[in-house]
Amino acid sequence: MANSTLVDTDTPELRESRPRFYELHRMTSKMVKDRLALYALIFLMLIFLSAILASIISPHDPTTGDIWNRLKPPSFAGGYSGHLLGTDQLGRDILSRLFYGGRVSLRIGFITVLFSSLVGIFFGLLAGYAGGKTDTIIMGLVDIQFAFPGMLVALVFVMVLGPSELHLTYALAFNGWMVFARMARSLVLTFRDGPLVEAAKAIGAKPLQVMIRHILPNIFAPLVTLFVLEVARIIGAEAMMSFLGYGIQPPSSSWGLMIGEGRAYFPMAWWLIVFPGMMIASTVLALNIFSNWFTTAIDPLQKGQSG
């Protein structure tokens, strides 16, 4: 943000030097071979399926505890055989809670990014296409929000609205729209003066038509990539908010909340936090690998550059 106060900011070095928010994405390109992407995709599908079918495949009810069987270790670690991944402090089955928690974590991830991307794309297209003062104001907002860490704002947001899944979604979306706005705007600027839009204008298409029919399809692929990466980021953010107690509230559950709740017991019951954490990490990782594969798969130009 303060970078732009330099006069000579438009040297390539400085332009390049702005933080790359999606460095991770480039990183994946180095380690991704298609096989890895395939594993990631299979893993993601399993996670989605387990979330959708949670009520069918869960061996136990996630909310009913068996107080006589609380804090039982996983069966492979010598625990009570009825619970594959053990039980928590209320005797609830960890595996079932992972399925249901995944449902919540994924739901929040997707719905949040759906919100933030729609809002962001709208303002980004508007800024890029309208230019002038509209552009300055919108991008000024983006800059301010980027300059300031979002977690604090999200916490205040939830404090004010009261903790609930929907409010958490608002709070996180409020911190996520800027990336989409920035990307949509920059892509519009690339395309706006390009031959494609020129041609569309020449045959008499209206601005809105140009935007929806001609620009949006062209920026679709990079936006999908960004979407997936944002879902990954939001799942992490949701976990942290829930861990701090400002996200999902009991009796509902998410992976982050499971870690938060299990924390008090974890030195003696490690399974309370190890498994949910692994779920978060592997889901985020798989989403990143997938988004990278998507980029290289859909854009042949990127393929040559990777690695």
């Binding site: 480039r26 990183m27 000024g140 907002l141 800059d143 300059a147 860490p149 004010v160 974890f266 190890v274």
Partner: protein, 306 residues
């Protein structure tokens, strides 16, 4: 230089005001903190008195006016929870968090720079793959969970380090390592990409054609030009740490930093304190950005401040 400073300060003002305003509107728009401040059995009269005392019965615009007037005099009001100047309360844990973040940043740079350089020198080598994979893992693992895992292994299992709290150097190890993992991954990748870019430049061939040793070519010629990107990224990461990552890390390790204060202030619905913290953090970040800006001429002589 004067123009630059003026412009920077103006922009800084916009950021600080923007963020403060946002938090102000958020905090005042919904919810009455009086309910949480008074015991459950408090009477309506008591509530009304406290509401009046806190100025919450005035119209929103008037409250904003009071707030801005206060801030202009460096007065954020009294923390409802701590019963003392909100700014004082907000500033007290700041040095601790800056120290912790600073240690974590140094830690990550110490590893990230050599790792990134070596990866760039031998792209696709085993080292490069290991570095890329582990930095990616480092970024995907939620850091509060990583902190808990480290406590589990190094405190509860091995008893090498204390689980939480402050004290001698042993207390700093686990939190700073946890905090360093994320920037380590990202800075390694930035160093790698920046160095790859620089090593492709023709002036590197020129430097080699002079007979300079490779170590010299890499550190003096390439690294200096990659410096702008590395410093920018490091500064950005430091900003994120001070007001983002430390919130969870300090909660995990029970540390008395500004991150813990944020959680407490929000838990207490202490509006003046929340505003003071936001202000302090915004100032920190603006200051950090100015520092980054000022460092650019060290690496790129073309940068001039106007």
């Amino acid at each position: 230089m004067a123009t630059y400073l003026l412009k920077t300060l103006l922009k800084a003002l916009v950021v600080v005001l923007g963020v403060s305003l946002l938090v102000f509107v958020l905090t005042r728009s919904i919810g009455n903190p009086v309910n949480t401040m008074l015991p459950l059995g408090a009477s309506t009269a008591e509530r009304a008195r406290l509401t009046h005392q806190l100025g919450l019965d005035k119209p929103l615009l008037a409250q904003l006016g009071d707030y801005v007037a206060g801030v202009a005099q460096g007065n954020f009001g009294e923390s409802w929870w701590q019963q003392e100047s909100a700014l004082t309360v907000a500033l007290r844990p700041l040095p601790f968090t800056i120290e912790l973040s600073g240690i974590a940043l140094v830690l990550s740079l110490v590893f990230a720079i050599p790792l990134g350089i070596l990866s760039a020198l031998k792209p696709r080598s085993l080292l490069d793959k290991v570095a890329s994979t582990s930095s990616m893992l480092g970024i995907c693992v939620p850091n509060f969970w990583l902190g808990l895992m480290l406590i589990l292994i190094f405190s509860n299992l091995l008893h090498w380090f204390p689980t939480s709290g402050t004290g001698g150097w042993q207390y700093w190890v686990l939190p700073s390592v946890t905090l360093a993992v994320l920037p380590l991954g990202r800075i390694t990748q930035i160093v790698r990409t920046a160095m790859l870019e620089q090593l492709r430049e023709l002036y590197i061939v020129t430097a080699r054609s002079k007979g300079l040793p490779e170590f010299w070519v890499v550190t003096r010629h390439a690294l200096k030009n990659a410096g702008v990107q590395i410093v920018t990224m490091s500064g950005w990461e430091l900003g994120r740490m001070i007001a983002g990552y430390t919130i969870a890390i300090e909660a995990v390790f029970g540390l008395p930093g500004i991150g813990s204060l944020i959680v407490d202030a929000i838990g207490q619905q202490d509006f003046p304190l929340i505003q003071a913290i936001t202000f302090v953090i915004a100032i920190c970040i603006v200051f950090l950005n100015i520092l980054i800006d000022l460092s650019y001429p060290l690496f790129n002589p073309r940068v001039k401040f106007k």
